[in-house]
Assembly symmetry: C3
Homo-oligomer: 396 residues x 3
């Protein structure tokens, strides 16, 4: 029996009926079974792909992507996932459209979705706005479907909003499942999600929030470390607390990076912006206050610069479990002495972990494909078995 077939058998035991025709906004919207299903389908698709099995769920079909912020790996991961399943991606490039003419999100959402099976949206720039945009978009297509405008109701894959970055956090977690030989081996492991210094400012909070909101579900000891003033959304901290209350493990916070690294099995040092400052920035942009924006940028860069000692150095890595914690990053990293003078991580540390870092990223296309498949296919277990018994992807 193939690995994909075994995974299909596991999938069948999960209660995932609610995934069908549903959107993927945040991991904490999903039950444990649903999260399990994503990892299971992702692994099955990877196995099928590696055995040259066609994974087409569609003979023809469209996916719409909306990238309101730059992207390389998520863009290509989404494109890869869609191609794997038989969908063609059409990107809504707001510069090429008439959106500047004052079109509402509601109208745009319907106009681009006439034949859309799936919608992928990245909107992570402004606190309080990204998720709202995705919700408005999906409410509009919902209405469009019910009014007969759209012949089907496309489903959403959140490709990063201001709150969560589920395709990232789930790829990250899939990586450690495989690295440690199974999710059961993660119980009691210490993972540090730590702030780190970067010469740029305003990096999204959705990565640390996504990690904290997901990794606390699996009985791990999750430590969130950052300087004072770099708090994440309190809502997500509440999620994390609830998660450990239900599933075991711990969730602790500290303002001391060195302390956090002590005995850690996994470290994830990464820069982000302070939540309060990002809220302020959103308001400044809404008010069109250019002077205010510039002043805030200066202030934030200055504030960042006070914490240059928050870097993943060789020194610090020695404090981790046997000096060999698994180093993680969503990439691209700000690498001291390579991409910047002083950054998030020592060059020698980064380069020692290049293989696992790229491997970490390689799960994303499969995670996205799994999110699409579970939301669009009524019986995913049956689908995987059929694909397993089906034709080749590369025909010669």
């Amino acid at each position: 029996m193939s690995k994909a077939y075994e995974l299909a058998n596991h999938l069948e035991k999960l209660n995932i009926n609610n995934m069908y025709n549903n959107d993927f906004y945040w991991t904490w919207d999903k039950t444990d079974d649903e999260i399990d299903a994503i990892f299971t389908v992702a692994d099955a698709l990877r196995d099928l792909r590696e055995r040259n099995k066609s994974c087409r769920v569609w003979d023809s079909g469209l996916a719409i992507s909306v990238f309101r912020d730059n992207s390389t790996r998520t863009r290509f991961s989404f494109a890869s996932a869609c191609n794997l399943l038989g969908l063609t991606v059409n990107d809504l490039d707001e510069k090429k459209s008439q959106i500047a003419h004052g079109e509402t999100v509601r109208e745009t959402a319907n106009m681009v979705s006439f034949m859309a099976d799936v919608i992928g949206i990245r909107d992570d720039m402004f606190i309080g706005e990204g998720h709202k945009y995705q919700k408005t978009f999906m409410d509009a297509v919902d209405e469009g479907f019910h009014d007969g405008v759209l012949e089907q109701r496309p489903t959403l894959v959140n490709l990063q909003c201001d709150v969560d970055h589920p395709t990232q956090s789930m790829s990250d977690f899939d990586h450690i499942i495989h690295h440690f030989g199974g999710v059961e081996n993660l119980k009691g492991k210490k993972i540090v999600m730590s702030w780190a210094y970067s010469p740029s400012y305003g990096k999204p909070l959705s990565v640390p929030q996504g990690v904290v909101g997901l990794f606390t579900r699996f009985g791990m000891d999750v430590v969130l470390a950052h300087p004072e003033g770099y708090e994440i959304m309190s809502d997500v901290e509440e999620i994390a607390k609830n998660n450990v209350a239900k599933g075991g493990g711990t969730f602790t916070k500290t303002n001391n990076m060195a302390e956090a690294f002590e005995g850690a099995d996994i470290v994830y040092p990464k820069s982000w912006a302070p939540f309060a400052a990002m809220e302020k920035r959103t308001k400044l942009y809404q008010a069109g206050d250019v002077d205010g924006i510039n002043a805030l940028e200066k202030e934030l860069l200055k504030q960042n610069a006070e914490h240059k000692d928050w870097a993943c150095t060789e020194e610090l890595m020695k404090r981790t479990k046997d000096g060999k914690a698994l180093y993680m990053h969503c990439l691209p990293a700000d690498i001291t002495g390579l991409s910047c003078k002083e950054g998030e991580v020592d060059r020698s540390v980064f380069e020692r972990y290049i293989d696992p870092l790229y491997l970490e990223a390689s799960y994303k296309p499969y995670i996205i494909a799994a999110m699409i498949l579970t939301s669009k296919v009524k019986d995913p277990a049956n689908c995987l078995r059929k694909l397993d018994a089906g034709g080749a992807r590369k025909l010669f």
Copy 2:
């Protein structure tokens, strides 16, 4: 018998041999049977799609799009239509090409068409230029095909030129066919194509021209209303006159919007630029006369502003049949109090008609697909029957 199958039977009775391998420039190039065929195939494809039938006409194939003006809905409609039929769209982005190096249209046309099945072009900006560009392009691929450069002769879908916007006018008309329960119910209905005020200037004339040139074929009372000085191309008015002479109904013109709305069944209030001014603008651009262009813009904005009372207000809507005429627009509209201070339509009117407006737009992918299918498939009726009996689009 499925709806698609019934429509295939109807299609078979039409004389459409001349559509095969032919281009779609203007609706008035086409016979009544040919126009009927487009609506028939569009409806059949929608039925097949809604029943999850694969509508692939190609196993692999290319469509080339050339958007010389911005586009959201037409771009996505074209992409959707192509995907439906199994074609991949490649966009000729003139910024990314070497066209700036002085390449001729003839050369570009051949260089991008080596394996093109279909060409979609939008070129609506300059009076006297848009259609000419499309014609030059298609003459070039014609020659390329006959010289063995191209292995087949791609066909054109006019995605809007300076004269007609057939994918728009036919979607609009398909919408009213369905809204009024059949083309036979449209006889004697009063439709008003009216100019309306917009704070921007230079909007294409191809929408009102397309509507006037098509809607006059079906026995309706078509009224063209605009302030003095906003005349459309006289050639198109001649077409309209000939249409009513042959098919019944009336074609009248007025400079009074309120009068036009009286007892109307359908209203289509939309801004456009005066034809004479657009001709002048083309010449100024050709001469590179920047001062002249700026002066003309000011003059036109001033002229527009003299007609702010040409707006589709609640007041005016009351004059229509039972106060409930069907409101139409090609979108995006300039909505008073939403997208601009004063515009084409009251916000409350626009919002009351959002469902039918989106529905109106939803026909475009199917109309485009029908134009492609009838020009590339020798026996469309047989093709529809085979698709009806064929496999699924979404496989699981």
Copy 3:
């Protein structure tokens, strides 16, 4: 027996095992059998396509394109080739990505290649850089594959580097094979690769280098003509000398265009930049020396202008064999009196040869497809036979 089937039989006799899973950088990396295989597969695919046979090698799959310089014909040729074989192209647009954030080539290469079957790269701007970029990219995906990051190892098609432009030179050569009725008829034919004046500067050397490096393999008399100071890379001249030593024919150089044209069967007059100046330019760019770059540009334009008599005039064409040499160009050409005041070729000469020029370009999609097929399919002869016996591309 079909032409494609006959070509498959010929293919089987060639020793091409080494092509499988291998990259295509330069034609001179390839054996005579391998070069023969590309032409054979290209012709077979053209025959299959013209007989409406599906040429899909993939049920689904991805090709990544990286255009670090503008492109129309190569971009569309690559897109056409990929579509023909069943691959979807995803373009890495460096402006839309996070590459500006300091990402290394190694990282980008892996991040965009998770599911890539094929990589096409154009990087021709800087001497000493283009090939290096391609090599670095492919070394990275090689490593990524061996580390399990990529589920397969994509192969490269060089879409133009600073050294060679193999998809161009092979299309050019395929064109003359067909024009003269077979490669055996080219023995002893005189072909002139000549520099020509252009009002722009800095055109890549890879076209003349590609022609000289390839055309010298087939027993032809290859003449390289250019003004003093416009030498090409000496490495490529060495390749050319070795080629004629092995395969017969001659390779000569001259600084006299008129002399070169004397009795020529084929002429290929085209502008390029002096190698030494381009090396200097690369260093100026690396040093960020804007003044130096501007000074060099002026100097080169002045140097070019000293050689305005290097143009393919009617006068000069009369000196060729019967006054009727085949005129070649990679397009777009700088045409005197059409695209510029004084350029590479007289308008009347250019226009007389438009049909063969477009035909020359039309081979490129098939050459690219052949490069992809031979590098990704283990048994290309068997594959062609299966395609020959297989289904239709256009289904109705």
